[in-house]
């Protein structure tokens, strides 16, 4: 079985591409217009992907950690040989598994969600394209391939955000998301090209064959450190970390994630909460041996992660739009994972990534269902009382919230894994900040739960029930409920990268602190929603400050559309009036000169005679001068 899988990895990797091709050909040739066929192929490719990824997960981890490698030469110019390959180790296996789980649930969910849309086929085309690029990113065998698919997942995300292209707001959001992501791509490419420069120019000191292959990352790191100065090395890592921050919506780049919420909700569930935004995390994990070489960068990741975790949780609090709240929450939770990476506990980060993926995609999919019931209404202040009609939806949201806020289920174990290493007297400040994050998480999640599912609302609800949507949600909710059985301690121990160790952390004190924070959070949420205190305890401007996301968006807007555009306009002015002005000046002068010369030809005989006499005199004078000069010389 294992051999079968290993030999057919490329086949499975390219399965979504075949589905894409089928949809594309069908789009133009139109031999069948059944949505069911598209759906069936999509489900088939994703299911096969899930089966394969689960087998891969177990075959790479048990009985001992091992890697599956297989690369083909893509192109070669001189010393630069670029490979397209597969490199599956513990990290890519677990990421792939999560991708496939969430992806299958989202694909199942999407049928009823999108079936009335005229671009149904296009939607599944993009989704399959995303699946392909994301899985190729996760299994990539070298950094160049990682970069290529890093950009492609960005493109897939952009295409899906711009899916409802007829709306003007979607257009702006998609554009902005692409630009901000492009900055991350730029820093990645700069770092990548510098790394390629060292590996190509000092070829003899690097392992032969594939350039920047992950197989021998330790040797590469060692050589790079020997070859380049400390500053260069750190700045390359900084560039890579920056691009990871952009992709994973870390402070101050979290604004793109909020704009990305213009995408169809299942897309947000898959791309903007569970999988693509974790690509930044994946990059750092992938290059962990390199990052470990620099204390400074690790501290930076630690601080940025913690900062994002706190502030994005604060930004999530006053949001009215459910999806925006979830987007800020995603940033905040990703911040916790980055924090764990910076604190040198990669396993905890991976564990938390799994827990978050399951819980957050459940939340998003539930949101999708609810908004469908209310005619695409996403404002939680207008919603209410969903529980009385759709009790199960409320239950799903509740389970996911409980898991994410760290009270029970897989979420608590994951939170304990991150918080555990700070549960000692020497780092009480960090721990208190972490507990604050967990408290804030509970507040915003339960506040939205109360607003959406409890009490009454004025909006009328469409009565509909959908099997595909229910099954989709059920899948991820079950995973966040009992995902702990799959992502168990044994698996986590096996996943732990070499040179690290993962210990199960069970401490009653920590659990009590977490649960207490969560319970206080729930009570705060209940008080603010139900009792609605008359007097604002928190000043209005602070609420507005957080609601606007600390005006980071406006700063970006200022830089992008005012500062940058004015620089461009100045350049345009220079181009038109200086470069082109010179050209125009020359043509102007030549026209004027020819007008002057033209006046000589006025047809007047006397003038011509005068010119002739004058010219003859001039020539004679010059001839005489030259003659006398030559005579003097001789």
């Amino acid at each position: 079985m294992t051999e079968l899988i290993e030999h057919n990895i490329f086949l499975v990797l390219f399965l979504p591409v075949w589905v894409c091709l089928f949809i594309l050909v069908n789009h133009f040739v139109k031999f069948t217009d059944t949505k069911k066929l598209t759906y069936f192929f999509t489900l088939f490719s994703t299911t096969v992907g899930l089966i394969f990824s689960s087998f891969l997960l177990y075959s790479t981890l048990f009985p001992v950690q091992r890697t599956i490698e297989n690369s083909l030469l893509w192109f070669q110019y001189g010393n630069l040989s670029v490979y397209f390959g597969v490199f599956i180790d513990n990290i890519s296996a677990i990421f792939l598994f999560i991708l496939m789980c969430v992806s299958l649930a989202v694909h199942i969910f999407s049928y009823d969600y999108m079936k009335d849309d005229e671009d149904f086929h296009k939607y599944f085309f993009y989704l399959n394209f995303f699946n392909f690029s994301m899985s190729a990113l996760l299994v990539s065998s070298n950094l160049i391939q990682t970069y290529i698919f890093w950009e492609l997942v960005g493109v897939a995300s952009y295409l899906l955000i711009g899916f409802w292209y007829k709306r003007a707001d979607v257009s702006l959001a998609a554009k902005k998301v692409f630009w901000i992501n492009r900055i991350g791509d730029f820093t990645f490419l700069l770092a990548l090209i510098t790394l390629i420069y060292y590996s190509v120019s000092y070829l003899q000191s690097f392992p032969q064959g594939e350039i920047l292959a992950f197989t021998n990352l330790d040797a590469i790191t060692f050589n790079l450190q020997a070859l380049m100065s400390e500053t260069t090395f750190v700045s390359i890592l900084l560039l890579l970390a920056l691009s990871a921050f952009v992709k994973s919506a870390q402070f101050p780049f979290q604004t793109w994630l909020v704009d990305a919420m213009k995408a169809p909700t299942p897309v947000s569930a898959l791309i903007h909460s569970a999988t693509m935004v974790c690509a930044g995390l994946f990059l750092i994990l992938r290059l962990y041996p390199m990052f470990m070489a620099s204390e400074f960068i690790l501290h930076l990741i630690f601080i940025v992660g913690l900062f994002t975790a706190i502030f994005c949780a604060l930004f999530a609090l006053p949001q009215r739009n459910i999806k925006k709240m979830l987007a800020y929450s995603t940033s905040s939770q990703l911040g916790l994972m980055f924090f764990a990476l910076g604190a040198l506990s990669p396993t905890a980060a991976i564990f938390y990534m799994c827990a978050h993926a399951f819980a957050k995609s459940s939340l998003f999919l539930t949101t999708g269902y609810v908004s469908k019931l209310y005619g695409d209404e996403l404002n939680m202040n207008k919603l209410g009382g969903v529980r009385y009609n759709k009790f199960l939806l409320a239950l799903y949201w509740f389970i996911a919230s409980v898991s994410l806020s760290g009270m029970a289920f897989i979420g608590r174990n994951a939170k304990e894994a991150i918080y555990g290493s700070f549960f000692n007297p020497s780092s009480y400040l960090t721990l208190s900040l972490l507990v604050l994050v967990s408290f804030l998480t509970t507040v915003y999640l339960f506040r939205s739960y109360l607003k959406i599912f409890e009490f009454e609302s004025n909006l009328s609800m469409k009565y509909m029930s959908s099997y595909s949507m229910t099954f989709g949600i059920l899948g991820v909710v079950l995973l966040s409920l009992c995902g702990g059985a799959i992502i168990n301690n044994e698996l986590l121990k096996a996943i732990t990268p070499q040179n690290f160790f993962f210990t199960e952390y069970h401490d009653l004190g920590l659990a009590l602190i977490l649960i207490a924070a969560a319970l206080i959070g729930i009570s705060v949420a209940f008080i603010t929603v139900k009792i609605k205190p008359k007097r604002n305890i928190i000043p209005r401007f602070i609420v507005k400050f957080f609601y606007r996301g600390a005006y980071i968006d406006s700063i970006f807007k200022f830089i992008g559309s005012i500062l940058f555009i004015s620089v461009c306009k100045v350049l345009k002015f220079i181009d038109e009036y200086i470069f082109d002005g010179c050209v125009k000046l020359i043509s102007f002068i030549s026209v004027k000169l020819s007008h002057l010369v033209k006046k000589l030809q006025n047809g007047n005989f006397q003038t011509y005679i005068a010119y002739a006499v004058f010219s003859a005199g001039l020539i004679l004078y010059l001839a005489f001068q030259i003659y006398s000069y030559i005579a003097k010389e001789l």
Partner: protein, 506 residues
């Protein structure tokens, strides 16, 4: 070489087509002339493909050489000038590109060109002949002759079939490029006479000219080099010399814009490769790190300008300048990777620019304006048009799996690995990489203004027929070369190999 494969025929076949069209017996209806031109260009392209097969079946590296003789005489024998043409792998790649782009241009002429069909198509064929001749000329004077001759059809094509301001723009184009040509002529005379004074043989054949920098006084060889640089820099264009381009591109009719951006700029690039690099390798190596500055300026400056353009075609024109900056980075890096990337960029950009101008032309035919804001405010729904434009847009942004990325990547890696002993070229390359952010800014501005945020939801104006087919063909090619870059680079690789050997660099 098969009996029917003649280099002279390959170059002068368009002239025959041009004369056939001009023949009074030939019908003057749009359909007849266009169909003839289209099928002729298809046959011509296939004929060029047979040369590719010939080159690929031959090993070692093949260089075809052929001379046009009247009554078996050289052209101007006393001055050592002969109408010699030769084709190496670089010429082959560019010839294939030219024949393909002209096919696209002929297809796109349908419903774009509305008057004087016979003259239009014969001028296009004349232009094609000149460009093919430029890419294959072995003799300096033949090169210069065709270089100048090419301006004549281009001038009339822009001024007669272009938009309102076309006459002024065509005149600007003509005078500006003539200005550049003076320098080329100066350069040609310099090396022609100096080589004669050294060897005592009057010749203008590139292979027989002596351009060894050790035999020349430095000021003379630098003078010749700079003359060529300015001359080709106007055509390419290199930044301070670029102001003709945007006017000419925006006022020309769509098929002519396609030819301008896709091929005419490449003649400048070809000149840099063939004259500056191949004739003066030592000087090129000396000056390359300094010239890298111009490459970086091209990249950043032109793409910043593209961001604030209001006219679709001007925007694409500035994007062309910025893309040529990437070519320059590859070229001035003077190493194997960089040169491969530079030539890759030439061909890839030609196809992408053709695609972009096709999109612009279709937009113009729908909205009858090139003003981005007007189009955005009167946006009609065209889902299929949008869907088939996406690959071209992504390729223009430089997304991986499209040919633009390979070109950019190789050029940037080349620039970074350039070995001049100083770090300045590396820093300039790093700055130029920022162009990928800028390119996404202007291309997405174009794409979003023209397709997103539909104003009139009920009104659908979509594309079909030849326009759809052209977009699909271009998308497929761009994607194909992006996924299998070797298919493209194998065509011109022998040129890179010989050049790198000659330069003695890595």
């Amino acid at each position: 070489m098969l009996s029917f494969q003649s280099l002279i025929f390959l170059i002068f076949a368009p002239l025959i087509a041009s004369l056939i069209i001009l023949c009074p017996l030939f019908p003057s209806t749009d359909t007849a002339v266009r169909r003839f031109s289209k099928w002729f260009s298809v046959c011509h392209f296939l004929y060029a493909i047979t040369f590719l097969l010939l080159f690929q079946s031959q090993n070692p590296v093949l260089v075809l050489e052929d001379e046009l003789k009247l009554f078996s005489l050289h052209w101007i024998d006393t001055l050592g000038i002969s109408a010699t043409f030769s084709m190496d792998s670089l010429s082959l790649a560019l010839v294939l590109l030219t024949t393909f782009i002209f096919f696209i241009a002929f297809v796109m002429s349908k419903r774009t060109i509305k008057k004087d069909f016979k003259i239009y198509y014969s001028l296009m064929f004349l232009l094609e002949m000149c460009i093919l001749g430029i890419f294959c000329a072995k003799d300096l004077f033949i090169f210069f002759l065709l270089w100048e001759l090419e301006l004549v059809p281009m001038y009339f094509l822009i001024s007669k079939w272009g938009s309102v301001n076309a006459k002024a723009s065509a005149m600007k184009f003509l005078l500006y490029t003539f200005f550049g040509s003076i320098f080329i002529l100066l350069g040609i005379f310099t090396i022609y006479f100096y080589s004669y004074s050294i060897s005592g043989v009057l010749t203008s054949n590139m292979d027989m000219l002596i351009t060894d920098s050790n035999l020349y006084p430095p000021q003379i060889i630098y003078f010749a080099f700079i003359c060529f640089l300015i001359g080709f820099g106007v055509k390419l264009p290199i930044v301070p010399l670029h102001t003709w381009l945007a006017d000419a591109h925006s006022d020309a009719p769509t098929p002519v814009s396609i030819v301008l951006a896709a091929i005419l700029l490449k003649t400048g690039a070809y000149g840099l490769l063939r004259f500056n690099l191949s004739l003066f390798p030592d000087i090129f190596l000396t000056l390359a790190p300094a010239l890298m500055f111009f490459a970086a300026v091209n990249c950043i400056y032109a793409s910043s300008l593209a961001v604030v353009q209001k006219d679709i075609k001007r925007l694409i024109a500035f994007s062309s300048i910025s893309q040529m900056g990437i070519f320059l980075i590859g070229l001035f890096s003077v190493n194997y990777i960089g040169l491969s990337g530079a030539v890759f960029q030439l061909i890839s950009h030609a196809i992408i620019a053709a695609g972009l101008f096709t999109v612009a032309g279709i937009l113009y035919s729908i909205y009858s304006t090139r003003d981005i804001d007007y189009i955005h405010n009167h946006l009609k729904n065209s889902p299929l048009f949008m869907f088939v434009s996406i690959p071209i847009i992504l390729a223009a942004v430089g997304v991986p799996l499209f040919s633009g990325f390979i070109a950019e990547f190789l050029s940037f890696v080349g620039g970074m690995t350039s070995d001049f002993g100083i770090t300045l070229p590396k820093i300039l390359t790093s700055i130029s990489i920022f162009t990928i952010v800028l390119s996404s800014a202007y291309i997405l501005k174009l794409f979003h203004s023209c397709f997103f945020g539909v104003r009139d939801l009920n009104f659908t104006r979509d594309i079909s027929g030849h326009r759809l087919n052209v977009l699909i063909i271009i998308s497929v090619i761009v994607l194909f070369f992006g996924i299998f870059p070797n298919f493209l680079s194998d065509i011109y690789m022998p040129f890179i190999d010989t050049t790198v050997d000659m330069l003695g660099v890595q």
